[in-house]
């Protein structure tokens, strides 16, 4: 029989250390829903999603009960909607509304894929979709949007960067009466991945099968608790502890993914090895860094600690799963992480440090409230900087910032639930990148040799 200490360890991880499966995400291709009539196209989208994902939530709940592991979210990602707009024309918001109806019917908490991939330029449907994002996010509740504006192979589409600065700002303005929530559902990517199960950036890539199940694990609390047991270990030994813990967490994800795939009769895609925090105490990535020996997250040493954590999580997780994909790394969403919120409030964690941290972990400047008077070109500047880090380092980076419209200094944004709350962080608004952003055009793809 299984060792009693192993059983106790697992139960302790679940009950005391917030171990959970963060999400089961069903990826659905909508390419066969294209129709030149947008009404028909929307109906096909609704029909296909409800047909394939009708049992997703129920199956997730059954597995949760049988295996005794909390599965927090059941979600859906779909083909970038801009591709459907290309065929049908018409108002893209109709698709957002069809997706919302499908979300209500299936009971999932988010559908991601109100997206466009424009890293090299705009194709038919792309610009229409991007310009409709503020309205789409304002008129729906459970739809997430993402736009890929750069990649290592294509460079950065600065026309799109300029446009996205305006779109982010407009989305915040149009949802200002709801804590600017629209921006919490909008991600701007460089090197977006096609099989990401996590929101708000999930979409179903064109290289994916018709329908697939991805799993995203979590477990910052478990890693923190494991490190706590070794107060005097060297960093090499700590890396081993993290690897062992990540292995166990990932095995759980693999098990749940296989089981969900079997029960739903849908192929299993990938496990995303991410440490995804929640605002709950004991579920924070910042607290792991502090457990490693930093007095607070954001001070010198933070980037090194995070780099080691991120690498060790991957090394431990890779062996535990047959297919690893998605974003796979430690997330650092400020408003969703109790330790980050504290560090931002105290001023120890600043935007510039977060930017440095994104060079060594997934995924980017995530869930950061910025001043409500931040102009669009400054948001574009932030997006361009972050995309440059991703482009040069061949990794995914993203920006999900929330301009806090109508909020004063010292006030906070409070989204509630998993999205959390947080202070408005300082942005340098004294000087402007306006001229640089207005040049537009495309930043050429970087050299992949002579690396220094």
């Amino acid at each position: 029989m299984i060792n009693i200490h192993d059983i106790m360890e697992t139960i302790n991880m679940i009950s005391e250390e917030n171990l959970d499966i963060r999400t089961i995400t069903m990826g659905i291709s909508l390419l066969d829903c294209c129709d030149s009539d947008i009404e028909k196209s929307c109906q096909k989208v609704y029909d296909k999603i409800t047909r394939l994902a009708g049992n997703l939530v129920k199956t997730g709940e059954d597995i949760e009960k049988e295996f005794g592991i909390p599965i927090i979210n059941k979600r859906i990602s779909v083909t970038p909607i801009s591709m459907l707009v290309a065929a049908s024309g018409g108002d893209p918001v109709l698709y957002a509304k069809a997706l919302q109806r499908a979300a209500d019917a299936t009971g999932v908490n988010f559908i991601g894929g109100y997206s466009a991939l424009v890293h090299k330029g705009f194709a038919a449907g792309d610009e229409e979709l991007i310009r409709s994002i503020p309205r789409a996010l304002s008129e729906t509740n459970n739809i997430c949007s993402s736009v890929n504006i750069g990649s290592t192979k294509a460079g950065i589409n600065m026309d799109a960067v300029k446009l996205m600065g305006e779109i982010v700002r407009k989305t915040a303005e149009i949802t200002a009466d709801r804590e600017c929530i629209g921006c919490a559902k909008l991600v701007v990517f460089c090197n977006a991945v096609e099989d990401n199960p996590f929101m708000a950036g999930a979409f179903h890539g064109v290289g994916e099968p018709d329908c697939v199940i991805h799993v995203g694990v979590s477990g910052p609390g478990v890693v923190q608790a494991a490190i706590k047991k070794h107060p005097n270990a060297t960093l090499g030994e700590i890396a081993e502890v993290i690897k062992r813990t990540a292995f166990k967490i990932t095995r759980m994800g693999q098990l749940v993914g296989n089981e969900a795939s079997r029960r739903l009769g849908v192929p299993f895609g990938i496990v995303d090895l991410s440490l995804a925090p929640t605002p709950a105490v004991g579920d924070s990535v910042a607290h792991i860094l502090e457990e490693m020996g930093l007095e607070t997250c954001g001070i010198p040493g933070t980037t090194a600690a995070l780099a080691m954590l991120n690498d060790a999580v991957k090394k431990g997780g890779v062996m535990a799963s047959s297919y690893v994909g998605g974003l796979s790394g430690a997330f650092i969403p400020v408003t969703e992480d109790a330790g980050m919120i504290d560090a931002a409030r105290s001023g120890d964690l600043r935007l510039e440090k977060l930017e440095a941290m994104t060079a060594v972990c997934s995924v980017g400047l995530d869930m950061i409230a910025i001043p409500g008077d931040t102009p669009a070109e400054v948001i574009s500047g932030i997006i361009a900087d972050e995309a440059a880090i991703g482009m040069v380092n061949s990794k995914t980076t993203a920006v999900r910032v929330i301009p806090a419209i109508n909020k004063k200094d010292g006030e906070e944004l409070d989204f509630g639930g998993l999205l959390g709350s947080g202070p408005i962080m300082d942005v340098n608004l004294k000087k402007s990148p306006k001229k640089f952003i207005e040049r537009a055009g495309r930043i050429p793809a970087p050299l992949q040799s002579l690396k220094n």
Binding site: M1, I2, N3, I4, I7, I11, F67, K248, R251, M252
Partner: protein
């Protein structure tokens, strides 16, 4: 299918009897039992075969949870595979 029933709480008379009683009423066959006292906490782990269960797994799991709540114990019923996959390569 095999499940692991874990019981954690303050030691008292008759815990195993109560848990076994629920197992027997629902036709769950007990294969193995281990128990020990870790830091004043009573910990009992029971491996059961539930292929001939006379109710749904969900009902069985709920009954155990209720039994736990009535007796101030934490009782969980979990699929054996959770532990196998996590602790064995």
């Amino acid at each position: 299918m095999k499940t692991v029933i874990s019981v954690i709480g303050k030691d008292s008379v008759g815990i195993i009897a109560k848990v076994s009683d629920v197992c027997s009423k629902h036709n769950a066959n007990i294969i193995d039992i281990t128990q020990s006292v870790l830091q004043d906490m009573f910990v009992m782990v029971m491996l059961t075969e539930i292929k001939d269960l006379n109710c749904s797994f969900s009902d069985f799991s709920d009954k155990m949870r209720l039994l736990g709540e009535e007796n101030n114990l934490d009782i969980r019923v979990m699929h054996e595979d959770v532990f196998n996959s996590m602790h064995r390569i």
